[in-house]
Amino acid sequence: MAKELVEFRNLETHFSTSAGTVKAVNDVSFSIREGETLCIVGESGCGKSVTAMSLMQLIESPPGKIVGGEILFEGKDLLKLNKKEMSRLRGKEIAMIFQEPMSSLNPVFTIGKQITEPLLYHLNMSQKEAKARAIELITMVGIPRPEKIFDSYPHELSGGMRQRIMIAIALCCDPKLLIADEPTTALDVTIQAQILDLMRDIKSKMNTAIMMITHDLGVVAEMADFVVVMYAGKVIEEAPVLELFKDPQHPYTQGLLKAKPVLSQRKERLYSIPGQVPNPVDLGDNCHFHDRCEFCMEICKTKKPPLRTHADAKHKTACWLYEEEGKAQ
């Protein structure tokens, strides 16, 4: 088994708003191993992006703040690094691509300039080397006529091409971890597939670990080695991808899988989880899914279920259904 690259330990990231404190990431722990693709799934607002941004330490502060926990990267706690050390790591060891390829590139600089920037800064390359490397990268992400692209501006490229450029930028320093925050959501389906192919390709070539954030189980099925399911700032289930799809334990995960249309078994209508994501302000110390859960028990409303292994060693779930106390009821 590969070495652990990143380990989140009891991460707590809070946002203070006029309405109260939002515990966007609430006691989250999981780890990513070298060369592994880990997917974080969950609905909008469940804290997946904040988890990723916490890792990058790009939480906007105020209002956001990491209030507790540790993020170990190759054994070092990132939260203890100073600004300079952290910025040395960003873009070099840990790279990130975002959901919105359209606006993630600076409109007033050429593609070339934006790709070479980290090369010049992190790797101290000369302009010439940087350009050569950039063109190599552009070619690698599958864009023809890289020289021309090098001198283009972002608005001259399509969304898919821009996401490829974002990937090229992310990869330029051979990072050990690539965070991809819904990299395909804003793209249309054929482009989505291409981008995912590209990422898989890269992963196999460069052995980069990928932390992918998505709400699309199709993407998960295609990409993931390991899956973390989040709900309202908490990890409620984690498992290797096959295990999860085969045997989803948490009612929420089950709901998610049911909500996904599957061609082979057409149903009358798509399943959707009843109810809404709870108001994130001042959530109680209980199972946050309880009011949407068809198996809801008394204990769910009052007590927080622990995240624990039940069947498979790698499969953890936080649900009273699988606990003694729960079963007792």
């Binding site: 946002f15 708003t17 006029s18 939002v22 966007a24 909008s44 607002g45 804290g47 992006s49 904040v50 941004m53 906007e60 209002p63 956001g64 959901q99 919105e100 359209m102 606006s103 409109p107 608005h155 969304g159 804003a186 994130p280």
Partner: protein, 309 residues
Amino acid sequence: MEQPGNPTEQLQEQLKIVKAESPWRIAIRRFAKNRLALIGLIILVIMFLLCFIGPLFSPYTLNQTNVGNKNQAPNAQYWLGTDKLGRDIMLRVMLAGRISLTVGLVATAISVVIGAVLGAVAGFYRKYADTIIMRIADIFLALPTLPILITLGAILSDLKIDPGKRIYFLMLIIGLLGWVGLARLVRSQILTLREQEFMQATEALGLRDGRKIFRHLMPNTIPIIIVSATLGVAGAILTESALSFLGLGVVPPTPSWGNMITAANSLIDFRKRPWTWIPPGMCILITVTAINLIGDGLRDALDPKMKSR
């Protein structure tokens, strides 16, 4: 807790909620939640009330001069002192506010509306519309203001327009003179925005031009419009006093904050009689600050990028 999104996302957002709740309703709701903006609004309302109702409780009247009491420092009888004709400054500041607040807000509103709309239209349609609007703007910019104002003043006088009503012309004129800068600013922003992808999406949706401009492009220019408006209010209030001299504004003894400050025009006034210029100066400052607070609140409320923080 998503990061602020981009316009594409914003469009999706909007499309999602169009049915449920209009953006303006959301804006009102958000505005009401913005504490600073509410404070600004309250201050402005208080200013209005003071200026329009306050004088009713004053023991003094406008035309009442009393040279024996001239240049008194603030005291129990005259809370803010008296001016060089022995008039109560408190009363004058309040009466002045009626003029200055109205002129400042109305004139600014006129120029902001004209500037924003023309700028947006020019930037959106480009080509002929742009050429024509921007050349007109050039002409406006190049015209010598003072001779025009003198001429207008003379014309109004020849037409025997009631001097008390000329204040409406004044507001119109200040408004008409002020739109060019904002128009150019809005135009250049729209030029950029219209090239962005979310506009292609509106294209695909087959939205009408008006909707594209006002629903999707204009909200992005709100911040700059607000800066422009804040600066404009102060400018208009001070400009009023200047134009009064040309037969376009208020007639003495009617006070305005601008002409009260201008009346203190020497180092000696400045040193010896701060009570003659500090009150009107403070009033302008408070008004401008209040408007800016409201403006910031409006911006946050109208800005789709600011999510429910």
